[in-house]
Amino acid sequence: MMLLKLFLTFAKLGLFTFGGGYAMIPLIQKDIIVVKGWLTMKEFVDIIAIAEMTPGPVAINSATFVGYKLAGVPGAAAATIGVIFPSFVIVVAFATLFLRHKDAPAVKAVFRGLRPAVTALIAAAAISLVKASFVDIAGPIVAIAVLVGMLRFDLHPILAIVLAAVVGVVLY
């Protein structure tokens, strides 16, 4: 019963998480903390901090954490599957439609306009990350080194992350 409740609650949250994790924070706050009382506010703040330091989006991390806290590993699985479920169904529907109609002239025109906007979305993400990431002069130096490595020497992103972590440990 608890497992089903976890699945349904997080499926509802998953349905309203547009554009990555942070949009979900007020929703989790209301549903999980105020209404259900499954989590304290302090625990939730810690989850956000962990989500930033570990791989994975906030939405999935919160689901796994809350599920585990309430019902162990099966709870973690139920909540995590729940939070992904709506995206899975909707993206499969989108993919089906896209793959079937991508050669229609109207669809091609739409995507030709959409692509520059996607470029802008990603550029804007880079800009917004600057503020939280550059604390001193070492920040821009690491960033420029990685950018040159990536665009000129085809540096693999995973290698870049690992090297930057090593630099972080040495410097700080």
Partner: protein
């Protein structure tokens, strides 16, 4: 079966190195799915990111479902989505046990201070690489610039930006696409039928696209200039 494991493993790697959420995983997905495996073309990758923004859910999860579904329907989508989420699932289970200690470890904090600027560069690099494919002419530059100002300066939500640019794209590019010869449309038959050889055949048809696009533009001087430049740059 081996293919499904490859799908799982690729997204497992992506999931394991996605720090900070949002677009931090775009360069990784690009490297793995477009450059290394050639499961989707450059253009499909960008289109997928656009679609991922209009559906609920984290971008990494949505793109994994899309790529998996494209290559192997439902089983592919499930293999990819499990791969993408399993790393964070396992890490959070571990963290939930020893929680408070890890957070305040000086070594962990130092490592993350180094990782954050690298993530900025990775995301900026991804925007640059995507822009080379996505922005074909002056109209593209204008759409991109307006979208960037809307998001970065005026804090507009991504969904209206995506929907707006789709409408503008339809209005601006409708006539171009009707003028493009059939050769361009035939190219999609290639990548969909075969698995292994889809990479090189995309490259070839990509070139045809450039040429075919410049040809009808001859009747329309401003277009011929813009598209011709892109074609030769590739």
């Amino acid at each position: 079966m081996r293919f499904l494991f490859q799908m799982f493993w690729s997204f497992f790697k992506i999931g394991a190195f996605t720090f900070g959420g949002g677009y931090a995983m775009v360069p990784l997905i690009q490297k793995e799915v477009v450059d290394a495996r050639r499961w989707v073309t450059d253009e499909e990758f960008i289109d997928m990111l656009g679609l991922a923004q209009t559906a609920p859910g984290p971008v990494a999860v949505n793109t994994s479902v899309f790529v998996g579904y494209k290559k192997a329907r439902y089983v592919g989508a499930i293999a990819a989505v499990i791969g993408a989420t399993l790393p964070s699932f396992l890490v959070i289970l571990a963290v939930a046990a020893l929680f408070a200690e890890i957070r305040h470890l000086p070594a962990a904090e130092a490592a993350f201070s180094g990782v954050r600027p690298a993530v900025v560069a990775l995301v900026a690099g991804a925007a640059y690489k995507i822009g080379r494919t996505a922005i074909r002419d002056v109209r593209g530059i204008v759409i991109g610039a307006v979208a960037l100002v809307a998001i970065a300066v005026f804090d507009v939500h991504p969904i209206p930006v995506i929907v707006g640019s789709a409408i503008v794209g339809y209005l601006l590019y409708r006539k171009d696409i009707q003028a493009e010869p059939q050769a361009v449309r035939a190219r999609t038959a290639g990548p969909r039928t075969e698995v292994g050889g889809s990479g090189p055949s995309d490259q070839v048809s990509g070139d045809t696209d450039g040429i075919a696009h410049a040809a009808p533009g001859a009747a329309d001087p401003p277009d011929a200039a813009g598209d011709g430049k892109v074609a030769s740059a590739e």
